[in-house]
């Protein structure tokens, strides 16, 4: 009877040790192994990149009568009165944006999606470059430009 009790106590001790080791391992797995790596830089760079890119792009002076990209977008969304040596404002603005994107985001192999669309016609954008995967994480920047009849929206998503 006494021997039986002693072995029961030893089994309880073993169970406690196994439980403690398991809890310790679970703790390590939860807080160390499964810890998400920090992405401070990526978040900062992508959000800064998206907003700066559109901000700087809109201010850029084009080769067409010293108009900036904003002027060309506004004209493109309205009467298309600006003539750039036989090329209309829509073609000129798209050409400029393509050159800039080629020399920046494409060169750095960044995934992005750029769209410029009228408030009442989201399905037919004036400008559209790049494509992101549907499930990709996005840092997005949107700018609104008042045009003749409606508002023009410029959206840039930087994807990871």
């Amino acid at each position: 009877m006494r021997k039986n009790k002693k072995s029961q106590a030893e089994i309880v001790g073993l169970v406690i040790i196994v439980l403690l080791i398991t809890i310790g391992l679970l703790f390590v797995v939860r807080f160390v192994v499964l810890r998400k790596p920090s992405d401070v830089k990526q978040t900062f760079v992508h959000s800064e990149l998206a907003s700066n890119m559109i901000n700087v792009l809109l201010k850029t002076t084009t080769d067409c009568k010293k108009s900036d990209v904003t002027d060309l977008f506004q004209d493109c969304a309205a009467f298309k009165r600006i003539d750039c040596d036989g090329v209309d404002s829509c073609e000129m603005v798209n050409d400029t944006i393509e050159k800039i994107l080629n020399n920046s985001l494409d060169k750095w192999n960044k995934q992005y999606e750029f769209r410029a669309y009228k408030s009442n016609d989201k399905e037919h954008p004036i400008s559209s470059y790049g494509k992101c995967a549907n499930n990709a994480d996005r840092e997005s920047a949107t700018y609104a430009i008042p045009a003749e009849w409606e508002t023009l929206f410029l959206q840039l998503d930087i994807c990871s």
């Binding site: 390590v28 760079v45 800064e48 201010k59 800039i100 020399n103 920046s104």
Partner: protein, 162 residues
């Protein structure tokens, strides 16, 4: 007989203690490794933060900023002047003391991407045995006061770690 039994008991106790200390040893090694990895992660994170800090410092450097409308804008004349001054061998102290205190081991380049491609190296100080490099690209407006035009530029900041 009783003597032999107590000897066995003693060996049993020694064996248990031995296993106990071996387990503690393994635990300490495991903990040390994980702690080392965590320290490396923190070091990497601090390095990334340093790169961001340097990029922000350059963005708001009065030596480069446009005089008016200075949001994300550098004046091309200022960029050319600063590049010449810093990279002039006669101004070695300016680079090695004043700007080194601000930028440390890094490389700062401004590149015009539209309408034509032009590049200026503002500051470049590397170190032997560089272990890691962190790069940041920030789009900036480059104002040409002669033509009163805003060009599209890119500020590239590379920060090095020993």
């Amino acid at each position: 007989m009783k003597n032999k039994k107590s000897q066995i008991k003693m060996f049993e106790t020694i064996a248990v203690l031995l296993i106990f200390f071996v387990l503690i040893g393994f635990g300490l090694i495991f903990y040390g490794r994980i702690w080392g990895a965590t320290i490396q992660d923190t070091e990497g994170e601090n390095f990334e933060l340093k790169a961001i800090q340097t990029a922000q410092l350059v963005s708001f450097l009065p030596e480069l900023q446009c005089s008016s409308n200075n949001d994300d804008c550098f004046d091309i004349l200022k960029v050319e002047a600063l590049s010449k001054i810093i990279n002039n061998i006669q101004n070695k102290n300016l680079k090695n003391e004043y700007y080194y205190d601000i930028f440390g081991f890094s490389s700062i380049t401004i590149e015009q991407a539209y309408p034509s491609v032009v590049s200026w190296s503002i500051y470049n100080k590397t170190t032997e045995g560089t272990k890691a490099k962190s790069s940041i690209n920030i789009p900036v407006s480059l104002y040409d006061p002669n033509l009163r035009k805003y060009n599209f530029g890119i500020l590239t900041v590379d920060v090095y770690r020993k």
